[in-house]
């Protein structure tokens, strides 16, 4: 599974595929809406090449799927496999965040 995550680019919190899956977890979006949403919750502006390269990889691996065009724009939605993959990554990240927060809290407690 780790290899699979690496292959699709789900290792770091700012990897475009992870940002796209996170955005689509809130509902289907087309390319521009996706980019706007990602900028809204991360401040990151994905370049056109990075955004559509990641969309292509995710769709190829069945983690997202395209919906029928609306006004010549194709919305994408997260699939069940994509939700499962995102959930697993979130749990991994949560463990790191929990440990980091806990240890930082202890450190701050000692310093205070």
């Amino acid at each position: 599974m780790v290899k699979n995550k690496r292959a699709v680019g789900l290792r770091r919190a700012n990897d475009p595929p992870l940002l796209i899956l996170t955005s689509l977890a809130g509902g289907p979006k087309h390319g521009y809406a996706l980019a706007q949403d990602i900028t809204g919750f991360t401040g990151v502006q994905l370049s056109p090449g990075a955004l559509y390269g990641a969309i292509a990889r995710l769709e190829e691996r069945g983690l997202i799927e395209a919906l029928p065009e609306v006004d010549r724009r194709r919305p994408y939605r997260i699939t069940a496999a994509g939700s499962a993959e995102l959930g697993e990554v979130m749990r991994d990240m949560r463990r790191v965040v929990d440990v980091g927060t806990h240890r930082l809290g202890l450190l701050q407690g000692r310093l205070a």
């Binding site: 087309h30 390319g31 370049s47 056109p48 090449g49 559509y52 292509a56 190829e60 194709r74």
Partner: protein, 318 residues
Amino acid sequence: MGRRSVGHVDDLRWYPRSWRATYGDDLVMYLRDRYGDGPLPVSARLSIRRSGTVERLRCGGIIGNSVDPDMRVRGASLLVLCAWGMFIVAGAAFAKYTEHWPLATPSVDHRLPAVAMGAVQAAGLTGALVLVTAGLVVLPALVQLVRSDGWRPLWIVTRPMVVAVTVAGVAGVAIVVWSTHLGPSPSAPFATRVGGVIAGLVVVGAMVVCVGTVVALVYRLHLSHRVTRVLGILALAMAAALVVIFAGTLLWWISTAVHAPWFFGSLDPRSPGSPAPLAMIVLGLLMLSGLVVAGIGTVRIAATLDRPGAAPSPAPAT
């Protein structure tokens, strides 16, 4: 679509046709939504070019595993072909550079460099035979392509190669004729050297176009699973020949630097010159780069051929 949209469509030409068919319109709409009718910023253009190149490499089976195994073998075999092209350029320059080495090397020290040079020549001949065999292997597919699509698509693909070879031939003859009419003026040696460099660059350019044309042509062929496997095995043989050429060149260089260092200088035994002249360093680096490219192709071919159950691939629309 307005005039601006047409411009955005032009930007997408960096992507392979099959990718554009799926995502092209959507990406154009995204670009319009994000950048409006204004020109694309340089960063966006660069991003599209980089991404398009990556998609082309993926589509051609050169990177990633998103295409079927046969396409990966085909792409990796073409990588080895590109490496062969680099070795042709380096080998031709090496042959010219070293043509008088027996005169500069003492007879008692001939054996090792002679063995090295013999290995280089034998490996070069083997590589050429492998290339001819590969050409014969894909010939039926080429005939089939001509029968199904006619000569026109083939001509469109091969036209740059025909033009490049013609230009290189004419330029080569013109430079040779010009250099023979220079006469004994003081500037003649310098002019001849400049002419040689120009001729070399023209030939290198023609070689790049030829290899690019062959790559484009092979991607258009309908190759069976069996033929693709044979091509992969031939590419492995060619990569082995490249290793021998590189090793032979290195051995010749070292033995000559030890036994006849003046060869790299003025041919005067009293002035040894540098054992690492610029020409040999450049040739060595070019060969080494080719070896790296061939190595990547070899690893991909070996990894793919090792897996059972590779399915026949459809012709890609790059």
